[in-house]
């Protein structure tokens, strides 16, 4: 799994809202840095990485939500983040099952019956994975069409002028 991005130069003595904003911005950029690899579908780790980053982002938005939830649009962002994390989760959960079944098939399937059953389950999980992955791609395309990334980053960049935006990470 990819290492999480460091939240550069945090001053713990700063107002909570300012630090929370940096954490959320960094986690968002970290999550979407995996987008291309997810769409390419060349490595199942990409889905895993994006899911983990999004779950951390969602956790940060929940924990620090009180700092932002009076702002119009925050609820929408948190709900979209949650939905995307769920879509990624639906694919990842099947990747885990497929991996477990493959390992068992290669290493410890002892009888023909067990091998036949494992192959059946593998095909079943792979079919479901393909369907869920297609849904994920459609979801990502829809988010892109609606400029979700811009909406998200703009929301946190424009909260108020007192907060520096110089440290927004690029990806």
């Amino acid at each position: 799994m990819a290492k999480g991005w460091e939240i550069g130069e945090l001053d713990p003595n700063s107002p909570t809202r300012e630090v929370a904003r940096k954490i959320i911005q960094t986690k968002f950029c970290e999550a979407f840095s995996h987008r291309e690899a997810v769409v390419a579908n060349a490595d199942i780790e990409a889905v895993h990485n994006m899911r983990v980053s999004l779950r951390r982002l969602w956790a940060a938005m929940r924990i620090f939500g009180v700092c932002f939830d009076k702002e119009p649009g925050f609820d929408r962002l948190i709900s979209k983040t949650r939905k995307l994390a769920r879509r990624l989760g639906s694919v990842r959960d099947l990747d885990v099952l497929i991996e477990m079944l493959q390992i068992k098939l290669e290493k410890s399937a002892s009888t023909n019956e067990e091998q036949a059953a494992l192959n059946h389950l593998l095909e079943y999980c792979q079919r479901r994975r393909d369907k869920q992955f297609q849904k994920l791609l459609e979801h990502l395309a829809k988010l892109q069409e609606k400029d979700f990334e811009v909406e998200f980053l703009d929301f946190f960049a424009n909260l108020d002028s007192a907060l520096s935006i110089a440290t927004i990470p690029s990806y």
Binding site: I7, P12, D93, L97, N112, A116
Partner: protein
Amino acid sequence: MTDHSDSNLIRQEISFRDNARDVLSDVLEAFYSHAPHDSADSEALHELRIAAKRLRYSMEFFESCYGKRLNNYIESIKELQELLGNIHDCDVMIELVQKRIKKASGSDLPAETASGFNEIIIDYERERAQLVETFTVLWSRKFNRGFKTRLLKVLAADGGREEE
């Protein structure tokens, strides 16, 4: 309206550092409230896994307030999470196979495949039992022996202001 229940722990008017101790203490308490009475109970272990994830993420968010003093605690939680995750994976797999068995009854699935399902369930139940045993040992050796007290001491050290 989205549920922001975790937000209730944060006080906006104080600094990030001053929030750290209160939030982490609360999340730690919540984690221990899920301490399992029955290690074989899937639902209880699932709840503990979720609470562990919340504790780990919270510690990572507030890590900057404590220098490196949270590192070992985060590592311990990661170890626990991985173990609980593997137990959960076995539960999900067993459930999946059971569903396939139900679906297969009365279908034209080859008899060979249908009987193989039971062998798979037995395998994963055995694997799960071993993981639960490892969990029980880890929980009693690490999390039931001073983990909470030591972490609370770190958190109470003036909001992490003490020098390393």
